[in-house]
């Protein structure tokens, strides 16, 4: 019997290596797998590259992981937040590398990695600093730049419902980067608010099918807050 549901955080985090590329879903704290980030902090992997829309806030979660010196490089679209002190301090001190990526390009690069597209031409960023050093091409009268797929070694995902095959649904705007992080990562780890019996999720309503999911941990934490 296939059973992707694991019983402990230690089992969820098993095998994450130093130097991994971690794709972290969430937009603000909505749809953000906070328990898994804490699990990663506990697990100990270091020298990480983290791709995430934001660069953490306050001193918890991703900010805490950075504060502990575990993140070598961050790929994000919006490193500002209500309280970006950890990121800004590290960045000014030259202790963390930053790759700024337009938000849509970030999502599309993850989706491309999951879909077997190694690189793609987009108009976003043409004529800006983002285009410097990138291949330009005119196609049907418009200029595009080439962007590369962004693969994760590990993806951290927050779902609303999950079953033992790893099928997932998301709640409202909690969907955001979760499906693309799941499909782009070699090892996709999920925390889910609810665990459903196999077959309880309507096959027409599954958003992320289990083929993109490796392990699911039941984390019924309640409402997001504090973004």
């Amino acid at each position: 019997m296939i059973n992707k549901i694991v019983q402990s955080m230690a089992d969820t985090m098993a095998g994450i290596k130093d130097g991994s590329v971690v794709l972290l879903a969430g937009f603000g704290s909505v749809g953000q797998p906070n328990a898994l980030i804490d699990g990663l902090i506990e697990q100990g992997a270091t020298n990480l590259t983290v791709a995430c829309n934001n660069a953490g806030a306050g001193h918890t979660g991703l900010a805490r992981l950075m504060e502990l010196g575990r993140v070598r490089r961050i790929i994000c679209s919006f490193p500002r937040s209500s309280d970006p002190v950890v990121f800004e301090t590290l960045y000014r001190a030259g202790k963390i590398e930053l790759e700024i990526v337009p938000q849509g390009t970030l999502a599309e690069r993850m989706r491309a990695a999951g879909a077997g597209v190694s690189a793609f031409f987009t108009a976003t960023g043409v004529g800006t600093k983002m285009a410097v050093g990138k291949e330009h091409r005119e196609i049907d009268g418009r200029t595009y730049i080439l962007e590369q797929a962004l693969k994760g070694d590990v993806g951290l995902v927050e779902a609303w419902e999950a079953d033992r095959w790893g099928n997932l649904t998301f709640k409202q705007a909690g969907r955001n980067f979760n499906p693309v992080c799941a499909m782009a990562s070699a090892l996709t780890l999920v925390q889910s608010q609810h665990i459903r019996e196999l077959g309880e999720i309507d096959p027409d309503h599954v958003v992320t099918p289990g083929i993109f999911v490796d392990r699911v941990l039941h984390v019924p934490y309640g409402d997001p807050s504090g973004f």
Binding site: Q103, G104, T105, A107, K129, M130, F177, D223, F227
Partner: protein, 221 residues
């Protein structure tokens, strides 16, 4: 550029700027409103004129802010404010949401800006080439992808510098993208000739406006 002595005039308030932009949005348009003043525009589109508001984080068909006791914790917009969903709204993931933007499906995006040039260039994400950690978010996707880009901003900086310029001094968000600008002093189209003034704050003359504007202004043909 300092203002010359002018007769008394009354600049548009932020609410009036939002209201003017709102009045120009026809029913049926799919519209993304940037963080800040542009977000106010939706307050001035009556519910019976159906305009479908999109937010980058996978929300299509947003309604107004919820009452405090009706907040849904998973229902936020790109500015991370709580919103509501209208009947007919839908959720999608980030790549699908940006497909709407990058695929040219939005009729309109309204952004704030630091500078707009008379060739339509927009600078709205970083105030220096060496910004320590500039935050671009979805601005470049929206500026490059929407069918129309409008800008809602003050006409000048706090110290009186014109934000309508001949050439942006700040890093660009997108070249040649802006079609219209709503400021506290005027509404302007960006045309092949440059800025064309469509309307001005009450009591302001064209010469007064030009005196406050670095870029050359034109009257409608």
């Amino acid at each position: 550029m300092s203002a010359t002595a002018t007769a008394a005039f009354k600049p548009f308030s932020r609410a009036e700027m939002a209201q003017r932009a709102a009045a120009d949005i026809p029913e049926g348009w799919y519209v993304n409103l940037g963080i800040g003043i542009p977000t106010m525009i939706s307050d001035y589109v009556p519910m019976d004129r159906e305009v479908i508001f999109h937010s980058e984080n996978g929300v299509l068909g947003m309604g107004p802010a919820p009452a405090k006791d009706k907040i849904e914790p998973w229902l936020i917009n790109a500015g991370k404010q709580y919103v509501t969903m209208r009947a007919g709204g839908s959720f999608c993931h980030h790549a699908d949401s940006f497909s709407m933007i990058r695929g040219g499906h939005l009729d309109l995006c309204v952004l704030g800006a630091f500078q707009v040039a008379d060739n339509g260039d927009i600078a709205n994400w970083a105030t220096s080439e060496n910004d320590t950690a500039p935050a671009v978010g979805g601005a470049m996707d929206l500026a490059a992808g929407a069918k129309r880009l409008w800008v809602l901003m003050e006409h000048t900086t706090k110290d009186g510098q014109s934000k309508l310029v001949t050439k942006c001094s700040y890093p660009l968000t997108a070249p040649g993208a802006v079609k219209r600008v709503y400021t506290n002093l005027a509404t302007l189209d960006v045309t092949d000739r440059g800025f064309v003034v469509l309307g001005m704050a009450p009591g302001l003359s064209f010469d007064d406006l030009q005196a406050r504007t670095e870029a050359k202004l034109h009257l409608p043909a």
